[in-house]
């Protein structure tokens, strides 16, 4: 075995391969192309995945949103079609009765899609979504605080009338260059002091522009200022890492149903949107995409390998006489077989490496051109393959080089020396 890695074996291989450069290059191209396609496909899949997932980035994907609808079944003497609202007490009840929940954030909302103007500042007015929120919401729906701060518990407890406004709100209500912090805006006739500004990424392909047109105020101040009483519009609930919200949500619904006298089997009374389920679907899509990339890439690679195998068969045939000479001079069958195998593996690995380098070059080029663009809404980001994939590809190459050489090597030692020498 030690012979395999000696300088002599390698110079033999180089000599044999370089004796017909053109053919060697053509053969190598098959594998180069295969591994190139494999890497590019994987990287493109990765880029798409990165692009789509950047919408979820930082977002607590293990979350759901739920809101009150109408009871669809009569229960305990109450009619169907009855309206009800979540109450602030539900939050604590959920927290106490359902384990493994990380955040339970009650929310209230003013305004909405194409709402009327509801915010004024001096002569300027605008229509914005106004949310009453707890400080945890920033961990569930991430945003970058660009100046000032976000809501804290002091705001909640003291029912401070403070507001955090989006960048678009700022451009709508303020003159360019004007500093909003410390100024007042009037929401539905109530004055709030601006204490911070934020910028949000789009929510999983949502409207990025709309996402900046929001105003956040403390939940308690919101309830008081806009006469919500104990009502809660909807809730954002996040489970702890390691337990899935999809499994916990039924327990949450049960708590809510029992507190509001709703039939336990009334599935339509509580509306919900399970972000985790959606996220899992998208994840599944990318697993499938990855599989397709591997499938296609490996098939293309396979055709390259068959090419190598074919050429090695021809090489062995051509060198029948040489093999005969070598055997007459004392080459053992193993050394003949090893040479054919090494040649095939060497050729595969070198061309495979070239393919990987070429693909990396193309990816680097793509990344270089994408760097200058704003990629936040491109659905395509940072196409890349990790080193693990490259190592797997390399392993596939070694194994396939071995396989490609196997049949030719066997052919080579099947030749009897005396027959080989007789070939003129």
């Amino acid at each position: 075995m030690s012979k395999i890695f000696s300088r002599d074996s390698w110079s033999e291989i180089i000599q044999a391969l370089s004796s017909n450069w053109f053919r060697t290059l053509l053969t190598a191209f098959g594998v180069l192309w295969g591994i190139f396609i494999l890497v590019i496909l994987l990287a493109a899949g990765n880029g798409l995945e990165n692009g789509v997932k950047q919408g979820f980035s930082g977002m607590a994907t293990n979350s759901m949103f739920m809101w009150a609808q109408t009871a669809s079944k009569p229960y305990k003497g109450l009619p169907k079609g009855r309206r009800y609202n979540f109450k602030i007490g539900d939050v604590d009840a959920i927290k106490q009765n359902v384990p493994n929940l990380r955040f339970v954030s009650p929310r209230n909302q003013l305004g909405g899609f194409r709402g009327a103007n509801n915010v004024t500042r001096g002569l300027k007015t605008g229509a914005y979504n106004v949310y009453g929120d707890y400080p945890e919401i920033i961990k569930q729906q991430p945003m970058d605080i660009t100046s000032g701060r976000f809501i804290n518990y002091a705001d909640i407890n003291d029912k401070r009338k403070v507001a955090i406004i989006g960048e678009s709100v700022k451009t709508g209500l303020y003159d360019p260059g004007e500093q909003p912090i410390g100024t007042y805006i009037k929401i539905n006739g109530v004055n709030f002091m601006v204490i911070g500004t934020y910028k949000k990424k789009s929510n999983g392909g949502g409207d990025a522009e709309e996402a900046q047109k929001e105003i956040y105020v403390p939940f308690t101040s919101f309830s008081q200022a806009f006469n919500m009483g104990e009502r809660v519009g909807w809730m954002a609930i996040t489970a702890q890492d390691g337990s899935s919200i999809t499994k916990l949500k039924d327990q949450v619904f049960d708590v809510v149903k029992s507190r509001h006298s709703i039939h336990p089997e009334d599935d339509r009374a509580v509306g919900s949107f399970d972000l985790y389920e959606e996220y899992s679907k998208i994840n599944g899509l990318f697993v499938a995409l990855n599989f397709v990339a591997y499938f296609v890439g490996i098939l293309v690679l396979l055709s390259g390998i068959i090419g190598i195998s074919n050429i090695m068969l021809i090489v062995v045939k051509e060198r029948t006489k040489e093999i005969g000479i070598r055997r007459a001079l004392g080459a053992t069958p193993w050394s003949i077989r090893a040479q054919v195998l090494l040649e095939s593996i060497f050729l595969t690995i070198i061309s495979g490496m070239a393919g990987i380098v070429l693909a990396s070059g193309v990816l680097a080029l793509v990344n270089y051109f994408m760097e200058g663009m704003d990629t936040s809404d491109m659905m395509f980001l940072n196409p890349s393959v990790n080193i693990g994939v490259v190592l797997i590809a390399l392993l596939i190459l070694i194994v396939s080089g071995l396989l490609a050489g196997l049949i030719p090597a066997q052919n080579a030692i099947k030749v009897k020396p005396v027959d080989a020498l007789r070939t003129e």
């Binding site: 002599d8 000479i325 070598r326 001079l329 004392g330 069958p333 193993w334 030692i413 020396p417 020498l421």
Partner: protein
């Protein structure tokens, strides 16, 4: 010269080839002994079985019946690995068509048997160079076979056959592809090697070449017709005569 040990000993050797339903009996009981230091030629018309005999002697082929001892070792039912080892250790081959590897330099060609012996690179190069000098081609060490003349190719092949320091040299029509003058030069070289004590077997159908050995074995239809010692004609003298004739 005194013959000390028996180098090749074959007894009652049979070999037949099967082609379809027909069996061709090529060797029909050959008995034949060669002592160390002998120089023997095997003659016979084509189809007499001389190449088959040489292949068996060269462990390239195996006999159906009979025994073959090479330097006291019985050659029988060898697997390919051992056969390769014996070929390397005991035998040096010289072919009619030289059989050099055409993408290797003369030096690398000569070094090949040593490579298969596992000799390290420096020693190999040194030894190969030594044998190239011996055949007078030291200046051609870096040349590829197709840059050499036929005579030079055959000398490289002879150097290669000698490189592993074998017990026996087997030459299959070594001058078959060469003109008379070059033939005689090659034979002169082979005679010189024999003078140093190497056992040599030459298969030929040329009378003049056969007479440059010390013993002629005549093969016909698979049996030995005649086996007699002859007075060796030195190749150098034959050359002088030939030149004078011209």
């Amino acid at each position: 010269m005194l013959y000390f040990s028996i180098m090749i000993e074959i007894k009652d050797l049979h070999k037949s080839y099967r082609t379809g339903n027909n069996s061709l009996h090529v060797l029909k009981g050959i008995n034949f002994t060669v002592s160390e230091g002998e120089m023997v030629s095997i003659m016979g018309s084509s189809g007499s079985g001389k190449s088959t005999l040489l292949n068996i002697l060269g462990i390239l082929d195996e006999a159906d019946e009979g025994t073959y001892h090479l330097d006291g070792t019985e050659i029988k039912n060898l697997n390919e690995r051992v056969a390769a080892k014996y070929r390397n250790k005991f035998l040096g081959f010289i072919f009619q068509s030289f059989n050099l590897i055409n993408y290797k330099s003369a030096l690398d060609n000569v070094a090949m048997p040593l490579y298969y012996q596992g000799v390290n690179r420096n020693v190999r190069t040194e030894k190969a160079m030594h044998y190239l000098e011996k055949v007078g081609l030291a200046n051609w060490a870096d040349h590829l076979p197709n840059e050499l003349s036929g005579g030079q190719k055959q000398r490289v092949a002879i150097a290669r056959a000698l490189a592993s320091d074998p017990k026996v040299l087997l030459a299959d029509e070594p001058t078959g592809a060469l003109d008379t003058k070059t033939s005689y030069e090659v034979m002169e070289l082979i005679q010189g090697i024999n003078d140093e004590g190497k056992t040599i077997l030459v298969v030929t159908h040329e009378d003049d070449i056969a007479h440059m050995t010390k013993r002629i074995v005549n093969l016909q239809d698979g049996i030995i017709l005649d086996d007699s010692e002859v007075k060796q004609v030195r190749a150098k003298d034959a050359m002088k005569k030939a030149l004078a004739h011209v």
